[in-house]
């Protein structure tokens, strides 16, 4: 196995890196100066048979084409929107991701964002630390329990968010490509109606051509000045300039964001707002889950190179 070349696209997780290093011939793309990358890929293209990518750095057609012996792309993420699946399929390249092991963490973060936005947890914590409590009370926030929650995308993560929100007495409704007859929640075949009928809208679907900017001006208007938006999907799900202006103009009550259109850049006007919570794409960034995700990436690679069925193939 030590002769099999694996290209690691960016720093991800030290445990994963160490294991890849010990099991394979590991190439670290980010250690090459940008001007030398083409040369580097050319000189190692016969050895590199696998690529490990993540939510931030994907695998486009250009990279695929420069690695003629590429057999498998294993992503350290559940989303695969940054991988050119079509090209991989054309070339018979397998693609794997890390579903299920991170469902709980992302769902937990979704609920954490709802609570943090509505109950102003971060501003309150700042209020205490600055000593301002001695001068008077913080003021009132808004209740979470029993508020109607609308979920965009009722897959593994969306369902896990729904289950948690129900325990807070929230009614659940959702929008997805197709209705899920086994799910006991109200279905809306369009996202505007969903937004009209909830006060907390959660984006939990995968990013595809159809879902890009699925949260646009019309949806934000329907959600309204008392509504809040939670995004644990991808930044591109939301028309970010529209979101920013809605928040600045009070046309939306608040937002909890873990993802942005151009990470790690966060729209500057958001940095000053008290009614938003801003996280740096940490949906699955716990020790427990990163270990499980790493093990799954390794399991997929091992299975492939030992001609066994892949644990979590996308294609």
């Amino acid at each position: 196995m030590e002769s099999i070349g694996v290209l690691l696209m960016c720093p991800m997780y030290s445990y994963l890196e160490q294991e890849l290093q010990s099991r394979f011939n590991l190439f670290k793309l980010w250690q090459q100066p940008p001007s030398k990358i083409t040369e580097f890929l050319k000189s190692n293209q016969r050895t590199i048979k696998a690529v490990v990518s993540n939510a931030r750095v994907g695998v486009d057609a250009q990279l695929i084409d420069s690695l003629p012996n590429l057999e498998i792309v294993a992503s350290f993420s559940v989303g695969f929107d940054k991988i050119d699946l079509k090209r991989c399929e054309e070339k018979g390249i397998r693609v794997t991701n890390t579903p299920d092991v991170l469902t709980d963490d992302v769902a937990d973060l979704g609920i954490a964002l709802i609570l943090a936005v509505l109950r102003k947890i971060c501003p309150c914590d700042g209020f205490v630390r600055s000593g301002k409590w001695k001068d008077g009370d913080f003021g009132l926030s808004t209740k979470f329990s029993s508020k109607p929650v609308g979920i965009v995308g009722l897959g593994r993560i969306g369902s896990a968010i729904a289950k948690r929100a129900q325990a807070f007495g929230c009614s659940i409704s959702y929008h997805s490509r197709t209705q899920k007859p086994l799910k006991p929640y109200k279905y809306y075949d369009n996202i505007v109606d969903l937004a009209k009928n909830c006060s907390i809208l959660v984006v939990a679907c995968s990013l595809t051509d159809e879902t890009r900017h699925i949260v646009n001006r019309e949806v934000i208007d329907a959600l309204g000045p008392r509504g809040i938006l939670i995004n644990v999907g991808r930044g591109a799900h939301v028309d970010e300039p529209e979101l920013v202006s809605a928040l600045l103009e009070g046309r939306l009550a608040g937002a909890g964001l873990d993802v942005y259109e151009d990470e790690p850049e966060v729209p500057e006007p958001l940095l000053r707002l008290d009614n938003v919570v801003l996280l740096p794409h940490v949906g699955s960034d716990t020790v427990e889950t990163c270990n499980a995700m790493a093990d799954l990436v390794l399991a997929n690679l091992e299975a492939h190179f030992n001609s066994r069925p892949l644990p979590t193939p996308v294609i």
């Binding site: 709980d104 963490d105 954490a112 926030s141």
Partner: protein
């Protein structure tokens, strides 16, 4: 009819002013001024509206000879001298139930915020460090952690119900086993509970028995990976022990909505990333406070109309 009240929300003040002659007692100014104020109104005051911060102690009760009812704008009545009220035939009411959900929500909010380091990470993004320094360090998973509840009353049970949806096994301590907790693991002592859970939540009422129920032994049992959540009262916890445990890494983290001497919070906690500090906002939502205000006024009206009290304690 007249009332004396302290630092309450405008909605409640307006309702009280509309129906009664309201005297506002400002306990934050010099004691002499407060004393003079009480002396000049002592005979006309027949009701007191207290809060979680300032209630009706023996001294106040003695200064108001015509006091008939204390209606507390809170669930907790630990700041009211209940024995004295009973002695003098003074009725006491509180606001149970209407803020249960909000307090339970905040307990979960604190558990999630501590585990996932929400506040330091939000600050990290706001200070531009994400693009400068890269990713924040990994945090800890919440789902599936064992939650231990001290006091499985209305609030405790509401917390348990929510935590269960995150796959958290529930353990609890109370003076005796509760039939409603049949699916939860009963622990006969608080130390036992602390040793057998990852996140310990204080959700019981403050009484002489529960003062400092969280002491050094309990903190040691909870341990360096354990998290303490306090949405009860500050005096439930030996605050000095808690602070040193956090500073020395003997306790993994804490989410605190209440403190020994509010609004004073031990400043050594301010530099810690593994604590979340809230200014006693458990029931501080628009919705809960409106419902509580309605109960305060409703109880007062019932009393003065000789109708049964809505939510009597004494």
């Amino acid at each position: 009819m007249t009332c004396s009240s302290v630092q309450v929300q405008p909605y409640l003040l307006e309702a009280l002013e509309e129906k009664f002659t309201l005297h506002k007692l400002d306990t934050t100014t010099e004691p002499d001024k407060a004393a003079r104020f009480l002396r000049s109104h002592r005979d006309s005051i027949r009701a007191v509206v207290g809060t979680a911060f300032v209630g009706a102690d023996a001294e106040l009760i003695d200064q108001l000879p015509n006091l008939e009812i204390v209606s507390s704008y809170s669930v907790g009545v630990d700041k009211i001298d209940l024995a004295k009220c009973k002695e003098k035939g003074i009725r006491v009411t509180n606001c149970p139930d209407v803020s249960t959900d909000d307090v339970a929500d905040l307990a979960l909010g604190l558990m999630l915020a501590v585990s996932r380091r929400l506040c330091p990470i939000d600050r990290y993004v706001r200070s531009g460090l994400w693009s400068k320094l890269g990713d924040y360090e990994l945090t800890t998973k919440f789902s599936g952690k064992t939650v231990g509840i001290i006091g499985p009353g209305n609030i405790g049970m509401a917390i348990a119900k929510r935590a269960e949806a995150f796959g958290c096994p529930i353990s609890y301590f109370s003076r005796s086993k509760k039939p409603a907790c049949i699916n939860y693991n009963y622990c006969p002592t608080v130390v036992d509970l602390a040793a057998n859970c990852d996140i310990l939540v204080v959700a019981c009422a403050l009484t002489p028995d529960t003062r400092h129920i969280i002491n050094r032994d309990v903190i040691d049992a909870l341990g360096p990976e354990g998290v303490l959540i306090n949405i009860g009262r500050g005096p439930h916890v030996d605050e000095a022990e808690l602070v040193s445990a956090l500073l020395e890494g003997r306790l993994g983290g804490a989410g605190l909505d209440v403190f020994q001497d509010e609004p004073n919070v031990p400043e050594e906690l301010f530099k810690l990333d593994n604590v979340v500090l809230m200014p006693h906002v458990g029931s501080a939502t628009v919705e809960a406070r409106k419902a509580m205000a309605d109960l305060v006024v409703g109880n007062l009206e019932a009393h003065f109309l000789n109708k049964p009290l809505l939510t009597p304690v004494v």
